[in-house]
Amino acid sequence: MARLNRGGRLPASLLVGGGLFALLVAVVVAAPWVAPYPYDEMDIMAIKEAPSAAHWLGTDEFGRDVLSRLLIGGRTSLFLGAAATAVSLVIGIPLGLLAGYVRGFVDEAMMRIIDVLMSVPPILMGLLILSATRPSVWKTAIAVGIIYVPVMTRLVRSVALDLSREEFVLAAQGRGERLPWILLREILPNAWPSIIVEASLRMTFAVMLAAALSFLGLGVQPPSSDWGLMISEARPFIDSAPWIVLGPGLALCVTVVAINLMGDGLRDLLDPRMRGRA
């Protein structure tokens, strides 16, 4: 861990991206208290109003405040990204550690299964899983998480494979430590830097994929809402009231920029070998 704090300076991209992301999270978590209006309050006297002092981002086709809906929708979108990433980590880390350390038949079998799963493009996999069940927020989160399990497993496996030849692992083997101990106490702690970098990258993909699935009508269902669904619902009004669609769209872009910057910064900080790679 010594090389982490060399000079004690954090990359600028980590500070900017991390700061922006923390701000976004804080705002959407506090949404019920900071939102100027209740997110489902309709005002038939203020339908499709352009942004004004009363409604900073305007109102939608039911006279609901776009900013307030944006904040509540952001809760769902960010939750989906974080929950899906968590799902892929929880399943992918143990599988990857096992495959990379044990190798042999277990590894071979798992990698072949992963080849199969990764040969279906993510949106189609989501479509397949979600078409088979009645969609909901948590099912969307799990589906997106499962879609990214193979990538996560592969990454953890390759790190574990490298680490399993290190001397401290050989020493643990020599001491007669058991398998779970070696995986969790020797390999995992040293694999974290790579896992964290990958997780931040995964989170941008997860936020975008979940929003795309909701946009296609496969993810979050009304009356719940996320940014993807908001954009989909605002489509009929893109000419008469463009602000309804621009709000959630730009919010999504800002979120992705924030997480991407944070990821770049984390990579520079934690994984110097990867620096400068695209």
């Binding site: 080849d115 199969v116 799963l117 040969s119 279906v120 493009p121 993510p122 949106i123 189609l124 479509l127 397949l128 899983i129 979600l130 078409s131 088979a132 069940t133 009645r134 975008m208 929003a211 795309a212 946009f215 296609l216 009508g217 496969l218 993807g228 954009i231 989909s232 489509r235 893109i238 000419d239 463009p242 669609v245 769209g249 999504l252 872009c253 992705v256 920029v257 991407n260 400068g276 790679r277 695209a278």
Partner: protein
């Protein structure tokens, strides 16, 4: 080389067989099954049993799968439940439309991605490089469906330059045909160019520092010959890999873009089938798209080995 291709082809067919089993299992076994979705939520158990018997759904899953995959291998994907027509021509027709989109988009992604990557690598660290890098960074952060809607807003709504949605066949004139393709293609290209551009740039920057580039300069070759003939040939290797991956991303993008622009391709057919729970169409659509992706990967691998003389696959050094 021939042996390598045959081996890869066999592997692809195995993977596709496994994918077909996965698709079949997910669509047939998970809750919300076929009979239920045909009859709706008020169906009685008797009605469900009757429909299942009629469709052969009461047989063991393995028998049903054998039936289905046997048909698929003979080019018979079953009948669409909703439209009561064979699935194969339906999918084939939609695929034709999607392939027009995909091929044009992929060609543009390749050309623009490689060209902008090389261009900014040659200006490494200077203004032009930074502009390209920033543009890439921004367009990476814009989801495809939002790109689609913003381009609709600007070019179809505000400027009224292009039709918003739909498709006309090229036999009705090149102009109308092309005008319907512009916005979907722009949307797809905008999302993919950054991948190619960024990777080409970083590998080109590395390559231009290599010994043989220095040697070529010492030989007095012109800079453009060094860049386009010597350096690019090697710098392109990682680019080919990302292009193959991007075919998969493109297939996902097509689903989104066709939905927004009401373009009658495979993606829109799939979304329609999912909404209507038309399971034979879902199965065929996902399988066909996965197959296209798999063969694109094979193509990329072959191209890779042709461009890279250092890699000789399994006794193919003749």
């Amino acid at each position: 080389m021939g042996a390598y291709i045959a081996k890869r082809l066999a592997a692809i067919l195995l993977v596709l067989l496994a994918v077909s089993a996965l698709i079949f299992w997910i669509t047939q076994v998970l809750p919300g099954n076929v009979a239920y979705s045909i009859l709706g939520q008020f169906a009685t158990p008797d009605q469900i049993a009757a429909v299942e018997a009629k469709l052969g759904l009461d047989r063991p899953i393995i028998v049903q799968y054998g039936d289905w995959i046997g048909g698929v291998l003979r080019g018979d994907f079953g009948r669409s439940m909703l439209m009561d027509r064979p699935v194969a021509p339906l999918v084939l027709n939609a695929m034709g439309n999607s392939i027009q989109l995909a091929v044009i988009a992929m060609a543009l992604v390749t050309v623009i991605g490689i060209w902008s990557g090389v261009w900014s690598a040659l200006r490494y660290g200077r203004l032009g490089d930074r502009v390209v890098s920033s543009l890439n960074f921004i367009s990476l952060a814009i989801p495809e469906f939002f790109w689609a809607i913003v381009s609709l807003m600007i070019f179809a709504g505000l400027l009224r330059w292009l039709p918003a949605t739909g498709y006309t066949s090229i036999s009705e004139g090149v102009g109308p045909w092309a005008s319907h393709l512009v916005l979907p293609v722009i949307t797809l290209v905008a999302g993919l160019v950054p991948h190619v551009s960024r990777l080409t740039r970083s590998s080109m920057v590395e390559t231009m520092r290599a010994q043989y580039v220095v040697a070529a300069r010492a030989k007095g070759l012109t800079e453009s010959r060094i860049v386009w003939h010597h350096a690019l040939r090697n710098a392109l290797l990682p680019t080919i890999t990302i292009l193959a991956i991007d075919v998969g991303v493109l297939m996902g993008g097509i689903v989104v873009v066709e939905t927004v622009f009401s373009y009658p391709g495979l993606g829109r057919l799939l979304i329609f089938a999912v909404e209507q729970k038309d399971i034979p169409v879902i199965q065929a659509g996902v399988l066909v798209i996965t197959a296209i992706y798999a063969f694109a990967n094979l193509g990329a691998d072959i191209l890779y080995s042709l461009l890279n003389p250092r890699i000789r696959y399994h006794g193919a050094a003749e």
